[in-house]
C-alpha cells in the first residue's frame, strides 16, 4: 500500500531534481548533470523501480565499475577453471560467477565437462563442505568488494582455529576507492557527482572517499538501495553539486555509520595486504586488490597449488565494457549491444552479470546513447564562433 502523502512527496522530490539539475546545467553550459552510480545494485534499483525513467533529461546516470563479477578478467576466470580442474579439488563459488566467460569457457562449462564446481550462498558453506570431506581440497573463489572480503577473512580465521587444512581461497577481491581514483585521474571524465555504494560503505565508512571531493572536487552521496533511498539521495547530491566546496555525505545513515564496521576493517587488515589488481577491460589499478599476508599462505590457493597459468587473454573483439565501466559511454553505444551481445549470448561481462550495466540496459530497454559528447562539442563550437 502506498502511504498517505507519499505520492505528493515523490512529486515534490522529482520537482526539486528537475529544478536543481536545470539550474546546474545553466551554470555549466552542459546538457545534463552526469551522475555515476558506482554500484551494480544501484543500477538495478534505479531501473527496476522505474525511477530512472522518471528523471528529467537534465540528469544522466552512468553505471560505474561496482559489480565484482563484471570486473573479473577473462584470465582470472581461466585460472578459476584451472583450479576447478585440479585432481581432488572442488571449487566453490558464488552463483554470480558461474556463467562469466573466460577464454575457453566459463565455470559452468567446466562443470559440464566434469570439473567439480559448486555454488554457495556463503563462504561459511564452503568451509562446511571442507569439514565434511577432509580427503578433498575445497577452494573458495574469493570474488567481491570490501563488503565480501571480511566474510572470507572470518571464514579463513575459523578454518585456522579449527585446524582445517583442506580449505583455501583464490583471492580476487577488489577495492572501490582506488577504482574511483582511476576514473577521476582521467582529466576528461564526465562525472559531476557519485552515488556511492551503500554496503561497501557499511564496512569502510565515509573517510576512504574523502579524496573524491578534496582532491578532485567531485561530490558524492553514500546511498541505500530502496527506491525512497535513491529518491532522497539525488536531491542531496544535486545540492552538493551546487556548493563551492565538494563534499561526501551519507543518505543511508541507517546502515552506514561514518566509521564503517571496525571489526570488519580489523579482520581485513589482519589477513590481507593491499595489492595491485587487474580490473576487466580497465587494466591494472595500484592497491585496488587484496593479497593474503604471507603468514596465511596455507589458505592461499595460489600458493597451495603452484603452476597456475599466468596468461591473460585479450578481451572479446568489439566489446566496449571497459569504456562503459568507466562511465565514458553508455551500453547502447556498443555496436554489439542487443545484437551479438544479449544476456543469452553475452560477449562482455557487463551483459553476463545480472547487475551489469548492459544487462540492466537490455532488461529495461534503456536505449539512450552518449549523445552528450556531440552536444558538448556543439556547445564548444558555438562558444568559439
Amino acid at each position: 500500500m502506498i502511504p498517505a502523502g507519499a505520492i505528493e512527496s515523490v512529486r515534490a522530490t522529482l520537482d526539486e531534481i528537475v529544478r536543481r539539475s536545470a539550474e546546474i546545467c545553466r551554470r555549466t553550459g552542459r546538457d545534463a548533470v552526469q551522475i555515476m552510480e558506482v554500484c551494480g545494485t544501484h543500477t538495478m534499483s534505479f531501473a527496476a523501480s522505474g525511477l530512472r525513467g522518471m528523471l528529467p533529461d537534465t540528469v544522466r546516470l552512468l553505471s560505474g565499475p561496482g559489480c565484482p563479477v563484471c570486473v573479473t578478467t577473462p584470465g582470472d576466470v581461466d585460472r578459476a577453471v584451472w583450479f576447478a580442474r585440479q585432481p581432488g579439488v572442488t571449487l566453490v563459488t558464488f552463483g554470480d560467477m558461474m556463467k562469466v566467460p573466460g577464454s575457453a569457457g566459463s565455470l559452468s562449462d567446466a562443470r559440464a565437462l566434469g570439473a567439480d564446481v559448486r555454488m554457495a550462498y556463503s563462504p561459511a558453506d564452503a568451509l562446511e563442505l571442507a569439514r565434511g570431506d577432509p580427503q578433498r581440497e575445497f577452494i573458495f573463489l574469493g570474488v567481491g568488494f570490501e563488503t565480501t572480503a571480511p566474510l572470507v577473512a572470518a571464514t579463513v580465521r575459523a578454518a585456522a582455529r579449527e585446524g582445517i587444512r583442506n580449505f583455501s581461497v583464490f583471492p580476487l577481491f577488489k577495492l572501490v576507492p582506488p577504482a574511483l581514483r582511476a576514473i577521476l585521474a582521467r582529466r576528461d571524465h564526465h562525472i559531476d557527482g557519485f552515488i556511492l555504494p551503500g554496503h561497501v560503505s557499511a564496512i569502510i565508512g565515509l573517510d576512504p572517499y574523502r579524496f573524491v571531493a578534496d582532491e578532485f572536487g567531485v561530490p558524492g552521496i553514500i546511498a541505500g538501495f530502496e527506491p525512497f533511498d535513491l529518491l532522497e539521495a539525488l536531491p542531496m547530491l544535486l545540492r552538493l553539486c551546487r556548493q563551492e566546496k565538494a563534499a561526501i555525505d551519507i543518505q543511508y545513515t541507517r546502515g552506514v555509520p561514518a566509521g564503517g564496521n571496525p571489526a570488519a576493517l580489523r579482520i581485513l587488515k589482519e589477513f590481507f595486504l593491499p595489492a595491485e589488481a587487474v580490473w576487466r577491460a580497465v587494466g591494472a589499478i595500484p592497491d585496488s586488490g587484496l593479497a593474503f599476508r604471507p603468514e596465511y599462505d596455507a589458505f592461499n590457493a595460489v600458493r597451495k597449488f603452484p603452476g597456475m597459468p599466468a596468461h591473460d587473454p585479450p578481451e572479446p573483439k568489439g566489446c566496449l565494457c571497459g569504456a562503459i565501466l568507466m562511465g565514458r559511454i553508455l551500453p547502447a553505444d556498443c555496436p554489439l549491444f542487443g545484437a551479438a551481445c544479449t544476456p543469452e549470448t553475452a560477449v562482455g561481462p557487463c551483459m553476463v552479470s545480472s547487475e551489469g550495466a548492459c544487462a540492466a540496459a537490455y532488461k529495461y530497454g534503456l536505449t539512450e546513447t552518449s549523445r552528450w559528447k556531440k552536444s558538448r562539442r556543439r556547445q564548444e563550437v558555438a562558444v568559439r564562433s
Binding site: 554500484c39 551494480g40 545494485t41 561496482g66 559489480c67 565484482p68 563479477v69 558464488f94 554470480d96 550462498y121 556463503s122 563462504p123 561459511a124 558453506d125 570474488v143 567481491g144 568488494f145 563488503t147 565480501t148 571480511p150 566474510l151 572470518a154 580465521r157 575459523a158 555504494p197 551503500g198 554496503h199 561497501v200 557499511a202 564496512i203 530502496e226 525512497f228 545513515t253 541507517r254 546502515g255 552506514v256 555509520p257 564496521n261 571489526a263 570488519a264 579482520i267 552479470s353 547487475e355
Partner: protein
Amino acid sequence: MCLAIPGRIIERTGTMGRADFGGLVRAVALDLLPDAEVGDVVLIHAGFAIQTVDLSMEPEIAERLIAR
C-alpha cells in the same frame, strides 16, 4: 553482488545466531558484529551480519523493510 538484507537477530550462541527475515529464519554468522544482541536488526550479506541497522530515525520505515 553486495546485496545485504535486514533481519532481526532472535538467537545468539557465541559467534553464531539466527535471524528472522519477516518470517523466514536463517543461521547468521556474527563474527563481524561482536556486539550484536538479540533484538537488533542487522544487515546480512552472504550469511554474515555486516552492520547494525539504526532504527532510531525511522521506525515505521524499518518495520516495513523487515516485514516484507
